[in-house]
């Protein structure tokens, strides 16, 4: 990497993990994000809530460039996402450069997306071996430690189809952690789970938060947001309606739209 990719002059330095300025995203004529401004600080648990179709998942996917933004600026750890700025011109990053940045951002999906042809431990080892070129032995040792941490050391040899939803999601978290990310994105991690399995996944996430991991969590679990969250944003129709401390926003919402939404989910 040359120093051209380093922090552009006008980007924030040393400060927030994620910074969004007027982020726009549209699919054809449909505008999904209509100007999102927000800041996620280091070691913060940042909760995104809102009705389905509000653009919260889309915004999350913009952060690791699974979706391209059409307008505004988005920085992760002081570096532009998907582009680099030279002078006053933006240049698209090559696939390889995008992949390089994604290494440091873990993502957990609603539908787990474990690799079904690999066992739990192979799922966790895959990226460290393929991307970071770790030796298989070292990657396996690290993977076993991570499975231990999410309480699944005994299931290392199981294929995903032999695991319950909660177990699969915990393996998925271990898989993301194996790349030693500085930021973790959670896209409705408990929405596809049976109610009785939600707790085990939230416990793992709570543990991560206590260790100081920066986390952005799209969720409908208001209890989790209130208890663990440091900041909360309520989105609707592609804009941020309300934001602040989760305990304050959830108990005393200022906007009519937030009140209406919360009265339905709480």
């Amino acid at each position: 990497m040359t120093d051209l990719t380093k922090t552009p002059a006008d980007a924030p330095t040393g400060g927030p993990m994620v910074k969004a300025e007027a982020v726009h995203k549209s699919y054809g004529p449909v505008e999904v994000l209509k100007g999102i401004d927000l800041e996620v600080k280091q070691s913060e648990v940042f909760c995104l809530v809102g009705p389905s179709g509000s653009g919260k998942s889309t915004f999350l996917r913009c952060i690791n460039h699974l979706e391209k933004i059409n307008g505004g600026r988005l920085w992760v750890d002081g570096e532009l996402v998907g582009y680099q700025q030279r002078g006053d011109k933006l240049y698209e990053l090559k696939d390889r450069e995008v992949a390089l940045k994604r290494r440091d951002i873990g993502m957990v999906f609603q539908r787990f997306n474990l690799f079904p042809h690999m066992t739990a431990v192979e799922n966790v080892m895959e990226a460290p071996v393929q991307v970071r070129r770790e030796s298989k032995a070292a990657a396996k040792e690290h993977a076993m430690a991570l499975l231990e941490r999410v309480g699944l050391a005994g299931k290392a040899g199981n294929y995903p189809s032999q695991l319950s939803g909660g177990q699969q999601q915990r393996v998925a978290i271990a898989r993301a952690l194996a790349m030693k990310p500085k930021l973790m994105l959670f896209d409705e991690p408990t929405s596809a789970l049976d109610p009785e399995l939600v707790g085990e996944v939230l416990d793992v996430m709570r543990g991560l938060a206590e260790e100081g991991m920066t986390m952005i969590v799209v969720t409908h679990e208001m209890g989790f947001a209130r208890e663990v969250g440091d900041a909360l944003v309520f989105m609707d129709g592609g804009v941020v309606v309300e934001s602040g401390n989760p305990r304050e926003v959830l108990t005393n919402p200022q906007h009519e739209r937030t009140r209406a939404f919360l009265s339905k989910v709480l």
Partner: protein, 325 residues
């Protein structure tokens, strides 16, 4: 059901049910009809002198036929290898975001799938009539090296080019279907981990696509085994052409063709068994338990009682109860 009733049922275990099983008289009648028909067919085959079974057995041991089998197998294996390798390459090109690559693949498939393989075989064999010499050099500039086309492409190579390049076009569509059958979430998860497009394809998408690709590929291989007989038009002596040579001398057409067919049947049977095991290998993770091997199935049929199903991999002792999504 209220809870006290439930408790009562739980406390005393019910007796196992003894009932008269449903009778199937239709099945027995059908089986009898088929048995009679099979006996008639066998009788007609064995006692019809026109089949000349002594000629059939002689032909089975004929040296020209045996050499033909080797050529048939070589052609099948090599042209399928060409077909699979070419097919994977073409499928990846076809799915590429680069319009030049996908357009080229589209054009290739259009030409090679759209013309008879017989024509392609003849074309490659008579390439020398179109371009007597092939050379390497700067396009539209000087040549560094050249060779006579007929020396460069002998009959066997022409057969291989004809069959393999044609097969690649079909395999491309099969592989493309397999790749597209893999859930997009898999690609996203791999990309989110920082894996490159190539690594994602090789490590994540293709292994899962194999489950969809293998059955039609087995079909193609069996089909190829028989399509090799078309190289008779360029006089390459594989199994069918060897038979053809024999019966055009002896005029014992039917017995020779019966012998040749017996060999084709044996070879396709072996391929079918091989395909079964390859499919079983790629079922890892897709099924919770692997299907039984043919031998296990035979044992089931004659052994009577069903053994406990084996878990899909040997490392795992068993499943934890409940909670599957």
């Amino acid at each position: 059901m209220n809870s006290s009733e439930q408790g009562a049922v739980k406390s005393r275990r019910p007796e196992p049910i003894k009932a008269v099983p449903v009778r199937h008289p239709g099945r027995w009648a059908g089986a009898a009809v088929i048995a009679v028909l099979a006996a008639m067919l066998l009788h007609a085959l064995i006692f019809n002198p026109a089949f000349q079974w002594d000629v059939v057995t002689d032909t089975l041991q004929n040296e020209q036929i045996l050499r033909g089998i080797v050529v048939t197998l070589e052609l099948t294996v090599l042209s399928m290898l060409m077909g699979v390798a070419g097919g994977v390459l073409l499928a990846i090109m076809r799915l590429s975001p680069n319009p030049l690559l996908s357009g080229t693949a589209w054009f290739y498939i259009w030409v090679f799938r759209g013309t008879p393989v017989l024509v392609q075989l003849v074309f490659w064999n008579f390439l020398g009539a179109l371009w007597p010499r092939l050379s390497i050099g700067i396009p539209f500039g000087p040549e560094f090296w050249s060779e006579s086309t007929n020396v460069l492409i002998p009959t066997f190579t022409a057969a291989l080019l004809g069959l393999g390049l044609n097969e690649a076009a079909y395999m491309a569509e099969i592989v493309r279907g397999g790749i597209q059958s893999v859930d997009e979430g898999q690609t996203e998860a791999a990309h989110a981990l920082g894996m490159s497009r190539a690594a994602t394809l090789r490590r994540i998408v293709l292994p899962q696509a194999m489950r969809v690709i293998i059955p039609p590929t087995g079909n193609e291989t069996i089909s190829m085994l028989k399509t090799t007989s078309l190289v008779q038009v360029i006089s390459l002596s594989e199994l069918f052409t060897a038979g053809h040579d024999i019966y055009s001398r002896t005029f014992q057409t039917i017995p020779v063709l019966v012998a040749v067919s017996i060999y084709y049947l044996i070879m396709t049977s072996i391929l079918t068994v091989g395909q079964y095991y390859i499919e079983r290998h790629y079922a890892r993770g897709a099924n919770r338990t692997l299907p039984p091997t043919p031998f296990q199935r035979l044992r089931l049929l004659f052994g009577g009682r069903r053994p406990a199903p084996k878990a899909a991999n040997d490392v795992v002792p068993g499943l934890e109860g409940g909670g599957h999504v």
